[in-house]
């Protein structure tokens, strides 16, 4: 369960050094767009050395490789495949690309005796991928879908705006598909790193559509993103009241009950329980509720 995915360029030693202090739930080390073609080799070397030396990271590690349709993607994989890497973020993903990547991961995992299954986060950034979202979300290894709005609007030849009306449909479609197949829905980055208010608004809107995490392209965006995707204390208090009242109602064999003048039934109780699971995951519950 993640709220925030921070992109860090794979060729930026200072940011690598501090990756654990920014507060990101997950970090995506980027070998694709953030690294120029002349820097790819050194970035891969740096990533390899970093993964071999980092001790007990307090965030999940992902790597965005170059597209498999180029010759670079496979070289990236060869350099970064490591037990510590949680997953691979695949740009310009299609059903076929993901299947191909999955086979490559099988090969690397076997050859390097990597015990865990490396997951895949496809970036939905082409019209074709939007069309295939339902299929992509069901593929093995796929643990989340990430909306890439910049490339997607480029593919669609439409204007990318701060309001984001043009990405309403893919956002909603990703959110529904991810919910249906119980994987994470990761929202596209907000690219104006100086507009804190705009970021908060954008993240809240994505959350309202069903996204449960968002990418950051600057560490300063993490505070707002984490706050947005963490249950508020008010919501946690309300959920605790509902669950407590439900426990009391169960004792009296009542399926529906009233709390503060509002009717509470099973869907409301289920929602409250889900919220508390999330709150617990992010350490938001007091010690008395942790159990």
């Amino acid at each position: 369960m993640h709220r925030s995915y921070l992109f860090i360029p794979g060729n930026h030693p200072a940011m690598l050094q501090n990756a654990d202090i920014f507060g990101a739930d997950a970090v995506i080390f980027d070998l694709e767009d953030a690294v120029s073609i002349t820097e790819k080799d050194s970035a891969r070397q740096l990533m390899k050395a970093y993964f071999e030396t980092i001790k007990k990271p307090n965030f999940s590690i992902y790597v965005r490789i170059n597209a498999l349709t180029s010759s670079l993607g496979a070289i990236d994989l060869n350099m970064v495949m490591n037990e510590i890497v949680e997953g691979i973020v695949l740009p310009k993903a299609t059903v076929n690309d993901i299947k191909m990547l999955s086979k490559l991961l099988d090969t690397f995992e076997n050859a390097r005796r990597i015990k865990k299954k490396t997951v895949i986060i496809p970036i939905i950034e082409t019209a074709k991928a939007v069309f295939e979202i339902g299929q992509i979300a069901q593929l093995p290894r796929v643990s989340a879908l990430l909306l890439g709005a910049e490339d997607l609007t480029g593919d669609m030849e439409i204007e990318r705006t701060k309001q984001g009306i043009e990405i309403e449909y893919p956002r909603a479609k990703i959110a529904f598909a991810c919910k249906a197949f119980e994987i994470e829905a990761i929202d596209t980055p907000f690219t104006d790193v100086t507009d804190d208010e705009g970021l908060e608004k954008d993240a809240l809107h994505a959350k309202s559509l069903g996204m449960n995490a968002k990418c950051a392209i600057h560490p300063n965006q993490l505070e707002s993103i984490n706050r947005t995707f963490t249950p508020s204390q008010t919501a946690i208090d309300e959920a605790l009241r509902i669950v407590k009242a439900d426990e009391d109602a169960q004792k009296h064999h009542r399926g529906v009950f009233s709390l503060n003048g509002k009717m509470v039934d099973k869907p409301v109780v289920d929602r409250a329980k889900k919220l508390l699971i999330k709150a617990k995951h992010f350490g938001m519950l007091g010690e008395e509720y942790e159990k």
Binding site: N18, I21, F22, P219, E223
Partner: protein
């Protein structure tokens, strides 16, 4: 000989014992003089030298309120050189890179001594190379006031850059093209110098409530321009966008909240560094959300504090120095923006200096050591690049003193076994906040007890140092030169450390 911190100091000098040793001493005051308002207006600097009787070997003083925009120090010193004076000591509250032309005067021994609270740029480099004939003396802001009033620092002539003067001989920092706001660092010079000259570029009929009273002024010299008021903006008045700095600021505010220091009627001071400014921003947001009002903020005042004053988040600003033009404007217009002298600010012998009333202060550091001693005077090679300013004064006075610093700057660990130079003694540093953990001075068991109940990453200083070493490696030892070129004088007049020539 060594002082109580184990630092080598010049023989026969008063050794630093502890930060509260001054409590056993009595305040020493030399007489102030009065001119009874008989101020003379002079035509030029040469005539001014004659009038005040400037001679070889004298000590002349300046303030630094115009900071890097000041033109008076260079103007006076240039004239001193042209007139052929020698062996002059400069007692300036600070010296900045724009005072670089003084290097030539140091080399030809027109200037042979410097007493200051902060120094960086070409002069600091020249002094570090051993070009200054007499030992450099580095004071604190409060300590300089003490040194002047006690006669430890005898000023023969104070040349006070004054943004506005009136026909009576009064002076103010509020008005004129070079208005810089308060003139807190010049007050002791005004009161205790044997001769006082106001140098100004703006004359007005009558200044009501002047900061500089004509009763202490001997002469006024009008010049074309005393400075560029835009230059008073400190280089570090922008809130940091650096994510590491912001993380440190956020954790600092968590510490403040955990210690219940942000509550109605609290008082605070912060430096003008980017992290400190971010702390203020976060504190401000908490104050707004919880409807909290502070009693006062003090120190060098920035526009950020002015916003808080104007939005009624703080009752009063006690301002010894305006850090930007917004602060200068506020001082001119707002009765709750009050000027204080360097003595009222931080002189340990004042009855109740403002620093003693601070609930907390946020300060920076170039180095911190395992004993919590802080260096803001030199870099790790011993090159002078700063000075205490109000660091040691506020650290002693405030109830809680917090150092905010990156654990690593570039690849250099900031926490060391021993700092290169002690500016502020560790006994006055309570908490050090870095991006990778928070250390609490073992002397503050009360703070340890409270903060250990929180989820904050509390570590020992040694643990923090080891983390830095794990990341960057252990820096190799740098052997300092053995040739002293000056010393750091603690606020009570004792010597806390020695400055050495750069190899």
């Amino acid at each position: 000989m060594k002082n109580n911190l184990g630092r080598e100091i010049f023989d026969q000098m008063k050794a630093f014992a502890s930060s509260d040793a001054f409590e056993q001493e009595k305040r020493r005051l030399i007489n102030t003089k009065t001119t009874e308002g008989s101020v003379v207006f002079l035509k030029n600097i040469e005539e001014t030298f004659k009038y005040v009787g400037l001679k070889n070997g004298m000590t002349i003083s300046f303030h630094h309120h115009l900071r890097n925009g000041d033109k008076v120090i260079n103007f006076v010193c240039d004239a001193i050189k042209k007139e052929g004076f020698k062996d002059i000591t400069i007692a300036a509250s600070s010296l900045f890179p724009n005072n670089g032309p003084l290097v030539e005067l140091i080399k030809d021994q027109t200037i042979t001594g410097i007493v200051t609270n902060y120094i960086n740029g070409p002069i600091a480099n020249a002094v570090g190379m051993g070009d200054l004939k007499k030992p450099l003396i580095m004071d604190t802001h409060g300590g300089r006031a003490r040194a002047i009033e006690s006669g430890d620092l005898k000023i023969d002539v104070a040349f006070i850059a004054t943004p506005a003067v009136d026909k009576e001989g009064n002076g103010s920092g509020k008005f004129g093209p070079s208005a810089c706001g308060t003139l807190g660092y010049a007050i002791q010079d005004l009161m205790y110098a044997k001769k006082v000259v106001l140098i100004s570029d703006y004359m007005t009929d009558n200044i009501i409530e002047p900061e500089l009273s004509k009763h202490y002024v001997d002469a006024i010299l009008m010049v074309d321009k005393i400075g560029d008021s835009e230059g008073i903006v400190s280089g570090t008045t922008k809130i940091t966008r650096d994510p590491v700095g912001r993380k440190i600021a956020r954790d600092t505010v968590k510490v403040l909240e955990a210690l219940n220091l942000i509550k109605d009627g609290f008082s605070m001071q912060t430096g003008a560094g980017g992290i400190s400014l971010a702390v203020v921003e976060y504190v401000k947001n908490i104050m707004i959300s919880k409807n909290i009002k502070a009693r006062f903020a003090s120190g060098g005042i920035t526009g950020q504090y002015v916003d808080m004053l104007e939005n009624n988040l703080v009752d009063t600003l006690y301002d010894v120095q305006c850090f930007d033009l917004k602060a200068a404007r506020s001082y001119r217009e707002n009765r709750r923006h009050i000027a204080i002298s360097a003595s009222k600010y931080g002189n340990p012998f004042e009855d109740n200096p403002v620093v003693n009333d601070l609930d907390f202060v946020i300060l920076g550091a170039t180095e911190v050591d395992l004993d919590f001693n802080v260096n803001v005077t030199t870099d790790s090679l011993g090159q002078i690049m700063g000075g205490s300013g109000g660091h040691a004064d506020t650290a002693h006075g405030a109830k809680v003193t917090i150092i905010v610093t990156n654990l690593l700057k570039a690849r250099l660990p900031i926490i060391k076994e021993k700092v290169t130079c002690v500016t502020t003694p560790g006994e006055d540093i309570d908490i050090v906040v870095t991006e990778r953990g928070i250390a609490i001075n073992p002397l503050r068991t009360d703070l340890i007890e409270t903060l250990s109940k929180t989820k904050l990453p509390i570590l020992t200083m040694k643990e923090l140092m080891n983390i830095a070493h794990d990341i960057a490696g252990i820096p190799s030892n740098y052997e300092m030169s053995k040739e002293p070129i000056g010393y750091v004088r603690y606020r009570d007049g004792s010597i806390i450390d020695t400055l050495y020539k750069i190899k």
